[in-house]
């Protein structure tokens, strides 16, 4: 068994934000007071109370508009750098059955800046009052009673898929082959490094700068798995110094 994974087909996402709300509903996380920033993306960023966020990005390419949607969450890295950075016993749990990376209340004893800088996807957020660090936990409580994560259950379009890792890898590769016929630039984002595998229609940077690990400096094509691992390590090393 290689644990669980998500497969997220961004070519099917309509940004209805059902997943974002379903996540809050299950975890009973409060709403945030925001202002209109000129986009449907709301709240504007992840926070301690918003651990799942649908990002909206408009790109004009060849005088045609591309409206790219990106439901963002923790990627549950196969080798999670944040767990490596943890200095407090029991603050971060790498669940052996599912591969989920789960933060506990003990994260309040961690150095938040270090934990954040260790994340190639800019995910963890801290509660300014308690110091507890928060992010997606793969709905590990639901998994244990045989339910899928709240976001996956609620997805009406088939964007969000969840299951055994081999099954999701298989689904991802089949979907990629289909999508590439229409979108030649389509790609799977960091499939070997993370447990949340995104399928994009266009280059990952056109969605969000942190969709792909260190996307700003990573050439996207022709990288072997080994090189990608090295890139991930390199990103962490750069942030450290």
């Amino acid at each position: 068994m290689n644990g669980k994974s998500f497969f997220v087909d961004l070519t099917k996402c309509t940004a209805c934000r059902g997943c974002q709300v379903a996540c809050k509903q299950w975890k009973k996380l409060p709403a945030e007071e925001t202002v209109n920033t000129g986009t449907h993306q709301n709240p504007p960023d992840l926070s301690y109370n918003t651990i799942r966020l649908v990002r909206f990005k408009e790109e004009v390419v060849d005088k045609k508009i591309r409206w790219n949607f990106f439901p963002e969450q923790c990627r549950h890295c196969v080798d999670p750098p944040c767990v490596g950075y943890s200095e407090v016993e029991g603050s971060m749990i790498h669940d052996p059955d599912t591969g989920a990376v789960v933060y506990t209340e003990l994260t309040k004893q961690e150095n938040y800046e270090d934990i954040l800088s260790s994340c190639p996807y800019n995910i963890p957020r801290v509660d300014p009052e308690t110091g507890v660090i928060s992010k997606c936990d793969m709905c590990i409580d639901r998994l244990r009673i045989g339910l899928r994560p709240a976001c996956v259950t609620s997805c009406p379009t088939g964007t969000m898929n969840f299951g055994d890792r081999e099954e999701m890898m298989d689904l991802a590769e089949k979907a990629l082959a289909t999508v590439q016929k229409k979108f030649p630039e389509a790609e799977l984002v960091d499939p070997y490094e993370t447990r949340v595998i995104y399928l994009t229609a266009y280059p990952a940077q056109e969605y969000y700068e942190y969709l792909m690990a260190d996307a700003a400096q990573t050439p996207r094509k022709g990288l072997t798995r080994k090189q990608l691992f090295a890139k991930l390590g390199g990103a962490a090393a750069r942030m450290r110094s």
């Binding site: 009973k28 080798d79 749990i93 052996p96 609620s154 962490a236 090393a237 450290r240």
Partner: protein
């Protein structure tokens, strides 16, 4: 921040251990917060319902606390043929239809020409509604129209809503309205 050698080694060692043993080195398995316990029959009663928000009619599963009698979780019903568990953003938030601190706690009344709502009792409100409906209906009820055809209707009252009623409640509601002779009956669910 300078290179922290201790952390660097620790990171590398952890990564190596994870790769080699697939995470078996982790001793802790308990989740930080276990919300799934609340779904057990010892704590909650499970019922099904239909989303009231639009005409699609998605199926929902509601878990109600046996202790407080309040809904504790509402999500899509995976066995329902319409939505197979999925919900839109509005449907996914339906838990707050009942559980929301911003809900008014009782009926509010604004008197004619007044600028403010004031809270009134249900008894007073329901009696007022009954009296006014009866008065308007009796004053405007028409047995026949201009052509002499039997219509038995009132055009003096219209009904709009309610957005928070489900299919079965709407049926009972419109039956009552039609028995009064209303013809202007509208509902938000046609959007």
């Amino acid at each position: 921040m300078t290179v922290n050698r201790r952390r660097f080694l620790k990171l590398s060692a952890t990564a190596a251990a994870m790769t080699a043993f697939g995470g078996l080195g982790c001793q802790h398995t308990a989740p930080a917060v276990d919300r799934a316990t609340m779904l057990k029959p010892e704590w909650t009663k499970q019922t099904t319902t239909i989303c009231c928000y639009c005409a699609v009619g998605c199926g929902l599963i509601v878990n109600t606390s046996l202790k407080t009698k309040k809904a504790v979780n509402v999500e899509g019903d995976p066995d329902h043929p319409v939505n197979e568990g999925s919900l839109c953003a509005k449907g996914a938030s339906i838990y707050q239809l009942a559980e929301n601190e911003r809900r008014p706690e009782g009926p509010l009344y604004r008197a004619p020409f007044s600028k403010e709502f004031k809270q009134v009792s249900w008894k007073w409100a329901l009696e007022q509604i009954a009296h006014r409906v009866k008065k308007s209906r009796d004053e405007t009820f028409a047995v026949k129209n201009d052509k002499g055809q039997t219509v038995n209707r009132t055009e003096g009252i219209a009904s709009l809503g309610s957005a928070a009623l489900d299919n079965e409640e709407c049926w009972a509601f419109q039956t009552m309205l039609r028995s009064l002779g209303l013809v202007y009956i509208e509902h938000q669910a046609r959007i």
